[in-house]
Symmetry: C2
Subunit: 312 residues, 2 copies
């Protein structure tokens, strides 16, 4: 988490002159995001986040992501709104990088959510699914089942260098999800709604952020990602039943699950676990690609994978 690109106050001042946002009062590089540089900007009219897209992002997809954020904000979700400049453009170039000025939202990301916060996150996810249903063309899930298989193949026996037995655990998981329930309800999903991507004040959700993995996918898979992220101890070893119950209650208060979604849940949880296990394992085994980013331990998602497998 770092600021990769220096942006001078003079350049920012010039950049902001293209918007109706008042004059620059303050700018601080903030330590958020591993793919972006982010600046918290204060002007005489409001506060904003300026995001520079640095890596791991296909900038041709940015109009889809930014359009989605605007679509959801228009529907009243607490999603930061991309700001239009005087020529109605959202996507810009700053210091040679694709960039967007984005609404600032209050709230904090908690490290150990309470059940009440997990419930609010579940409810917000369902609202996102409902509000996104009429959003433009679909976007494929780049980190879906095909990617899990390709990545497991590429990492191969090196998985066992992270922890003994990991390759076998992944192979078993992939065998289970070979029968992927592709006919469940689908639409726009967030695909990465971990606690760090949810801003809260008390148990109220004030922000849903970081839409750069959003895609068209099974709604219940997104709920499985949320479940994997919020309903376990950090090391993945201990399921948290109160959080689990709260997530489902919150979600279903807006969008009740269908019976097929419910019965597929252990399988979807294995898929969600594989997705984060494999992306973390990939980064673990390729640290030089991204030396400034702290590696995340894959094993907490191996434990989740084993948990969901036991339920299947």
């Amino acid at each position: 988490m770092a600021v990769y690109t220096a942006v001078s106050a003079e350049l920012l001042d010039d950049f902001l002159s293209g918007y109706d946002v008042g004059r620059l009062l303050s700018a601080k590089g903030i330590a958020e995001g591993v793919s972006n540089s982010n600046f918290l900007i204060e002007t005489t009219s409001a506060r904003f986040i300026l995001t520079l897209y640095e890596r791991r992002i296909d900038t041709s997809q940015l109009p889809w992501f930014l359009g989605l954020m605007e679509h959801l904000a228009d529907k009243g979700l607490p999603v930061p709104r991309p700001i239009h400049d005087r020529s109605a453009r959202m996507l810009q170039q700053v210091a040679g990088k694709a960039a967007c000025l984005i609404e600032y939202l209050p709230g904090v990301s908690v490290s150990q959510p309470t059940p009440a916060q997990a419930r609010a996150a579940g409810e917000a996810l369902a609202r996102l699914h409902v509000a996104g249903a009429d959003y433009t063309a679909p976007r494929a899930n780049d980190l879906g089942p095909d990617w899990w298989r390709a990545t497991a193949d590429e990492l191969g026996p090196r998985l066992d260098s992270i922890a003994g037995g990991l390759q076998g655990l992944v192979a078993d998981g992939l065998a289970a999800v070979a029968d992927w329930p592709a006919d469940l309800p689908r639409g726009v999903i967030h695909a990465d709604l971990f606690p760090d991507n949810v801003l809260v004040l008390g148990s109220r959700v004030t922000g849903l952020i970081d839409f750069y993995f959003a895609c068209t996918e099974l709604y219940a898979y997104d709920l499985a990602v949320l479940h994997a992220a919020w309903a376990f101890s950090a090391d993945g070893a201990m399921p948290l039943p109160d959080h689990e119950e709260a997530i489902f209650a919150g979600y279903e208060s807006v969008r009740p699950l269908t019976e097929p979604e419910r019965s597929a849940f252990p399988l979807l949880g294995q898929g969600a676990s594989l997705r984060f296990l494999l992306s973390r394992a990939h980064d673990w085994l390729h640290p030089a690609e991204d030396a400034m980013v702290a590696r995340k331990d894959p094993l907490p998602f191996a434990r989740r994978l084993a948990h969901y497998a036991r339920l299947s």
Copy 2:
């Protein structure tokens, strides 16, 4: 520039409950400072910077620094005020680190100051010298002439591995400053008032920050540091006469220099150049101590040193 210590929202919430500052609304780690972790905190009442002191700082000196900031703020200088908790304490422990909650000030640090900004910085420095004159006990300059000599001795011929002739240039500089004008007016100085430590809005100074090199030293040496930092092109190769004139005009509008200060200026400029040349050369040759911090090139201060030597 990074955030070295993670502080959870839960921990922050608990920490802030010891103050009369309202409830936490937002917290962002900010990419400022190489010795500290800093968080921009918003509460229901105001904004603050929370600083965790990480390295390169003798925490036993923190009461002196924080007391100085409060002293200067009390005198009306735009210096961020350390906040007292309900037990009147300024210095705290957060996540095992010494820490202080500090007033947030608006303004930006410019990369290429204008002469008007240089003038305002010179004036602010003189106000700091006047306001600090009655501040408590003296504090020695840890990075003064003795440190320059010791560091040059330690680095020795390795200086030439940075650039050919650097050891000789440093030796000549040290010979010149051997006759250090110790009888000039002295008092509390900032000792590091580079453009990144001055917040401005237009050509108004709204903040003087980062007092962790402040000490008791020759006032005119502090002005020489400001001159070295503000009156040259970034590579040190080109003096900026308009900025030079503006700095002196701003400073002397508050505190006119004495004739001995004025005639010692080229020598003081050599001292200021040695201080930054040697600290950067030290970091250049000891990168492993601080792998996360980008090394700053020592050579721009070698060029400044040569410039001041030519004036002597």
